[in-house]
């Protein structure tokens, strides 16, 4: 990363200041302010359409915010493509529908970005990839194609693929929502392992058990606003806002 845009590490990893976003006339994000320190693990939750996915997709500029500032590890996200690509190199993302590349093997999925973005030699990239595939406990699938794996396995490959870039921040956009129930746990276990290693994580999820065990902070969004945020224990046992109470009563039986 160029020196000019890199600042001291005492800065927060993620800083959102007064972020607004509109889809046409629809105001999806309203004055979002967020400060995430290194190693923090944040869970975002909220009803569908609340803007939680949009919020984390703004963090690597898959969505563009129209007002306010977003600074990732000292680099501000603007129209400057260099800044955007610099941020994307440091921010890994895991999607609801995995989005593995079906024409490449699992190993090739994992080595693609390190080789072409980080300019890593093929051999080294493959070593890194195997290391992370072992971490997500599917090294034996390395030479298969994504279409041959189960949903849970595919999502674990997607996590390994993101980790191969050695990102400073990991974003998870509903990583277990598209999985069969019996596969949710294997993916969550992988994510818990990642959290234990001190990765800075932002996770959009409805897995409240995961939020309780892993998160430092739970953020509740509704209608594009941060309605409430708190430590998980306090958030779940003693929600302050009536919207939060209603939401929790609907998802926890």
């Amino acid at each position: 990363m160029p020196e000019a845009i890199k600042q001291t590490s005492a800065e927060p990893m993620i800083l959102m200041e007064g972020v607004h976003k509109w889809y046409g006339q629809f105001h999806v994000l309203k004055d979002i302010n967020l400060n995430v320190q290194q190693g923090e693990r944040i869970v975002l939750c909220g009803p569908s359409g609340s803007g939680k996915s949009t919020a984390i997709r703004c963090l690597n500029r898959l969505e563009e915010h129209q007002q306010g500032r977003i600074i990732i590890d000292g680099t501000e996200l603007t129209h400057d493509l260099k800044h955007i690509e610099a941020v994307r190199r440091e921010v890994g993302m895991v999607f609801q529908h995995f989005n593995l590349f079906p024409h490449l093997t699992v190993l090739q999925n994992c080595t693609l970005a390190p080789m072409w973005v980080r300019k890593m030699p093929k051999r080294e990239a493959e070593e890194v990839a195997m290391h992370y595939l072992e971490r997500v406990r599917i090294p034996e699938q390395a030479h298969k194609y994504p279409g041959q794996l189960s949903g849970g396995q595919q999502q674990r490959v997607a996590i390994a693929r993101a980790l191969c870039m050695k990102p400073k921040i990991m974003l998870f956009d509903e990583p277990t929502s598209a999985l069969d129930p019996e596969m949710v746990k294997e993916v969550l276990d992988t994510m818990v392992g990642l959290a234990e290693d001190g990765m800075t994580m932002l996770c959009v999820t409805h897995e409240m058990g995961f939020a309780r065990t892993v998160a430092n902070r739970v953020i509740f969004l509704d209608k594009g606003e941060i309605v409430e945020q708190n430590e998980p224990e306090a958030f779940f046992t003693n929600p302050q806002n009536e919207r939060t109470q209603l939401f929790l009563s609907q998802i926890i039986h």
């Binding site: 994307r88 999607f95 989005n99 590349f101 072409w116 279409g147 993101a162 870039m165």
Partner: protein, 365 residues
């Protein structure tokens, strides 16, 4: 605790499998289909035996003049006597080895690309694509490095057909891909240019393009300046076909889910790497049937160069049939032309099917 015992797999009913099952299911499944089957069999019996009789059994294969054709069937002597002209046109007989060598170099040079274990295949393919055309130009046209010039006006026959088809395909595919990407670009200026280009070339007939390139273009060029007629036809073919390729490829691009673009972008891949490594490999694989369809059409459309007086395979044959010594041989000539065209087109079709199977990574959604 109760243990559930699963039922064992049973074989399917005998009448639904095997040859009998296939016949029943496909040919004789109802009285109407049985009727159709019998009618089709009658048609085949009506057409095929006389054809074989004419083309193979009653045919004359050896001789030197039409007087040797006495048996009443096909007179392949004609094709045999004029074979050189059909293959090389007016290319000087003593220099025809250069055409043969060009073809052999293409076959030998491309062969490693079909070896699965070949290392650095992409690199080799790229070098081949750059070096071979220069080499082929030198061998076919000559004029430097010790080879005598053979002007393109003397090129002809199958060789000319293959030159037009190969150059057309090699030029139209990359240009078409760029146009397809341009048409989906975020940049309005590029989009407008690509849409205009595609719609213009798709809107005019190929004959018009060739005619314009041959007759009209020289009128617009400054006095004394001219460039080769074949070259003009080649450029016309490339521009024309690239518009079709562009639309085929665009169909493939639209079929790639948004998530693929997002995943590639989220990893930090820029536009060209995202397209080159993630999107195009998948999109092109999806549209192989459409691309090959266009190539086959292109191959057959090469015969339209007859309109600007180039002697491709078809025109060479047509011309030979007007030779007073071989009057009345048009059927043999055109059957031969059809056979050659069919072999090449069928070859392309089979190869595309092979490619589809090979590239199938079992992800059909």
């Amino acid at each position: 605790m109760q243990t559930h015992t699963f039922k064992p797999d049973l074989p399917p009913p005998a009448l639904s499998v095997g040859v009998v099952g296939w016949l029943r299911a496909n040919l004789f499944s109802s009285w109407f289909n049985t009727l159709l089957t019998l009618f089709a069999a009658y048609l085949v019996w009506l057409i095929v035996p006389p054809l074989i009789q004419w083309a193979l059994i009653d045919a004359d294969w050896t001789g030197t003049t039409r007087a040797d054709c006495t048996s009443g069937g096909a007179c392949w002597v004609f094709v045999q006597q004029r074979f050189g002209q059909f293959m090389y046109g007016f290319y000087p007989t003593e220099l025809r080895w250069r055409v043969d060598l060009t073809l052999w170099l293409a076959i030998i040079g491309a062969a490693p690309l079909f070896v699965p274990q070949m290392p650095r295949k992409a690199m080799y393919g790229l070098v081949f694509l750059v070096v071979y055309p220069l080499l082929a130009y030198w061998l076919l046209h000559g004029g430097f490095l010790g080879l005598a010039t053979v002007p393109t006006s003397r090129w002809g026959g199958l060789m000319l057909t293959l030159v037009i088809a190969a150059v057309g395909i090699a030029g139209a595919l990359p240009l078409g891909i760029m146009l397809a990407l341009g048409r989906r670009s975020d940049m309005p200026a590029i989009r407008v240019i690509c849409v205009t280009f595609i719609e213009f070339w798709r809107g005019v007939p190929l004959i018009t393009v060739l005619f314009m390139s041959s007759v009209m273009l020289p009128l617009f060029l400054p006095e004394g300046m001219s460039f080769d007629k074949l070259m003009r036809a080649l450029i016309g073919v490339i521009l024309f076909q690239s518009a079709y390729i562009a639309e085929v490829v665009r169909g493939g691009l639209q079929a790639i889910p948004k998530g693929q673009y997002e995943a590639a972008a989220a990893m930090g891949l820029g536009y060209w790497r995202m397209m080159g490594l993630v999107v195009l490999p998948q999109a092109l694989k999806l549209v192989i049937p459409g691309i090959v369809n266009t190539f086959i059409a292109l191959f057959k459309d090469t015969s339209l160069v007859i309109i600007i007086g180039l002697f491709d395979l078809l025109n060479s044959i047509k011309q030979a049939t007007t030779d007073p010594a071989w009057l009345g041989m048009a059927t043999e000539g055109y059957v031969f032309a059809a056979l050659i065209f069919w072999i090449f087109c069928f070859g392309m079709s089979r190869y595309s099917q092979h490619l589809e199977r090979k590239l199938d990574t079992g992800h059909k959604r």
